[in-house]
Amino acid sequence: MDIFLQQIINGLVVGSIYALIALGYTMVYGIMQLINFAHGEIVMIGAMVTITCINLLIGAGVNLPGPLLLLAGLLMAIPISMLLGFTIERVAYRPLRRAPRLAPLITAIGVSIVLQQVAMLIWGRNYRPFPQILPTTVHDFFGAAVTDLQIAIVILSLVLMAGLFWLIEKTRLGRAMRATAQNPEVAGLMGVNINTVISMTFIIGSSLGAVAGVMVAANYDQAHAYMGFMIGLKAFTAAVLGGIGNIGGAVVGGLLLGIIESLGSGYLGDLTGGFLGSHYKDIFAFVVLIGVLVFRPSGLLGERVAERA
């Protein structure tokens, strides 16, 4: 039982990270029907900037407790990611807003490759260790091991998600975003500044991505220039699983994918008698994706496409 509980906890931690990243995909998709494949790279750059920043602070002899150092790194990474998200939209997507839908998709992949290569030029191609600044005390939770960091990841994710719900449902900007998602042209006629709304969407999504990147790096103790690709793909899967364009769907999809993956890699080997092992973990995510696309193309919580058209 404690093993099962541990797998669920592992899944929740990964899942809440997936959910945070999936929000970035789903928000952009909801508003402009674009899959921003460069989002995974923003996650990576968030992680890299934080690591560099923490190392610089430590190198400069700043003697702060670990969590504060991490916060400082995060406060550096978030604006940089925001700026990056904003710039990507301005440079790569805005000129193509009226182009066929394939064009911005290709640009998105291009931007993703460019960012990967730039990151490799800046930080090299090796794995970068995450500085050891956080306590690694292990708490016993009904027989399962949990660290402070894992608790913090889950709580912070939930807080950020709740904040995003509040922003979208209760604020003026949120209303403008919802209006733009429904019909950009009409929203524009009603006095909503579409360009600002889209820029804000990228900025918010990127900041969530940066936080998720730091969570990944802190939880797995390392980061590298290619990390954004796989985690981005997983989060995209989570977004599709929940229903892309649907904020609640991204959260449900992310958590679900994390738990499915964790249980899958934990028990697959035993269930198939060693025929399929835990190294098929990644395949899981994509089998789930294909299954959803076949049986429920709009995702678990997604609206039907007909309504949008």
Partner: protein, 427 residues
């Protein structure tokens, strides 16, 4: 060497492409009738000296003024001399050069009643399997009598087919993949213990010296990781340990929580990881976070400074092996290191002593056979008994080093410290 074969998987494509263009333009230039002067301008820089040396023996320092009646024969050496492990390739080249210069300075080797001198033909294989085969073909075209190389398993294996077809003996100083000598070629030899021998030593050590009764095994499903883990499993079982869990991951993974959790449920005394440092480090850290007290062990892919860098203070207690001996403790170690330093003004990186011995072993076989002809001295090479800098060199019927030493290390105080030096398993 397995470690490097893995790390070159990460070589980015762009760089590969650039190298490739370089190669193409070079071969086009070679086949066109442009004069040598033009060639040296058009072809890319680094490989040029080696090529010129090869095509104009007179210009080579190694063959300077052969004494009356003496012959000069060519010996090939291939390693990555450019790219991110160029420092290791250069180290290998120095090892070979040192041996050849010693022989030549002594007036040459007595082979079949003649004083024979050697000329080094050193080529850059860029740690790239495709380039390695091109280099191998060039060696064959230049009629080298023997090859020391290549450095990586990934380059040694494809090149070995070409040497085998041409009947040229090949001694690799550092390729550890079992597959290299398992192809059934008569010309493949190595002077370092292979992954199977390493896995065996690790398995026996875990079961007997560390007293592990229950072991869990994880590998990354690469040829190297899987091979090592399989050998570890066999040896651990043979020595009385029980394998309670066998899990798999990939060489890109950083999240091991799920597999470690199911391993935790099986309560092993020891976890063996077959793979590289970039995975072993997070695995070690995550095991600690999950409250797993089992010892963690790995092969040479994890016995790196990078492992300590990536896992920080959690690296403490990690046990890993590496084929060969710590260089200071080799039979001819200290003297070799001093000579090397004096000659090249730099420290031995890794494999230079093995390269040195590779040359000496080839020449010894030629002396015994009284001929530098590959077909004539090859039988002597396979039954050679030679006391080299790195230890006793003799080969089994596959060309693997008999009784190759394997060193076990443990991280103590943030450094790899020698635990034990074990003799390899001769079969």
């Amino acid at each position: 060497m397995a470690v490097l074969a893995k790390s070159c998987d990460h070589t980015d494509q762009t760089q590969d492409k650039i190298y490739h263009l370089g190669n193409e333009s070079m071969s086009i230039a070679r086949y066109s009738l442009i004069a040598a002067a033009v060639l040296s301008i058009s072809a890319c820089g680094k490989q040029e000296p080696a090529q010129q040396a090869a095509s104009e023996p007179a210009a080579s320092a190694a063959s300077a003024a052969p004494s009356g009646g003496g012959d000069t024969v060519k010996l090939g050496h291939a390693a990555p001399l450019t790219g991110n492990i160029a420092h290791l390739g250069k180290d290998n080249e120095y090892g070979v050069k040192m041996a050849i210069d010693e022989i030549n300075d002594a007036g040459g080797a007595d082979i079949g009643g003649k004083k024979v001198k050697f000329e080094l033909v050193s080529e850059d294989d860029q740690a790239d399997p495709k380039t390695a085969t091109t280099v191998a073909q060039r060696f064959v075209d230049q009629k080298v009598v023997g090859v020391v190389g290549h450095l990586n398993s990934g380059t040694t294996i494809p090149a070995s087919k070409i040497y085998s077809d041409a009947g040229i003996p090949q001694v690799s100083p550092s390729a550890t993949a079992v597959a290299y000598t398992a192809q059934g070629f008569k010309t493949t030899f190595r002077v370092m213990a292979n992954d199977a021998q390493q896995g065996k030593v690790l398995g026996e050590f875990a079961a007997t010296k560390l007293g592990a009764k229950k072991v869990a095994i994880v590998d990354d499903r690469t040829a190297y990781g899987q091979g090592l883990a399989d050998e570890f499993e066999k040896a651990a079982k043979a020595s009385g340990a029980e394998v309670v869990k066998r899990e798999f991951t990939t060489n890109q993974e950083t999240d091991f929580n799920a597999i470690l959790t199911s391993i935790k449920g099986a309560k092993p005394d020891l976890i063996f990881y077959g793979g590289m440092d970039a995975q072993a480090a997070p695995l070690k850290k995550q095991a600690k976070k999950l409250g797993i007290g089992a010892k963690i062990m790995g092969g040479d892919g994890t016995q790196t400074p990078e492992f300590i860098k990536l896992s920080g203070s959690d690296s403490e207690g990690m046990i890993s092996s590496s084929p060969g001996m710590p260089k200071e403790q080799m039979p001819g170690g200290q003297a070799f290191l001093d000579k090397f330093k004096a000659k090249f003004g730099t420290e031995v990186q890794l494999y230079a002593p093995y390269c040195y011995d590779s040359v000496k072993v080839l020449v010894e076989a030629m002396k015994k056979a009284g001929s530098t002809e590959p077909a004539k001295y090859l039988p002597e090479l396979s039954k050679i008994e030679y006391q080299g800098v790195t230890g006793n060199v003799s080969f089994d019927d596959k060309g693997d080093l008999k009784n190759g030493p394997i060193t076990l290390y443990q991280v103590k105080g943030g450094k790899w410290e020698v635990l034990e030096i074990a003799g390899g398993a001769a079969k």
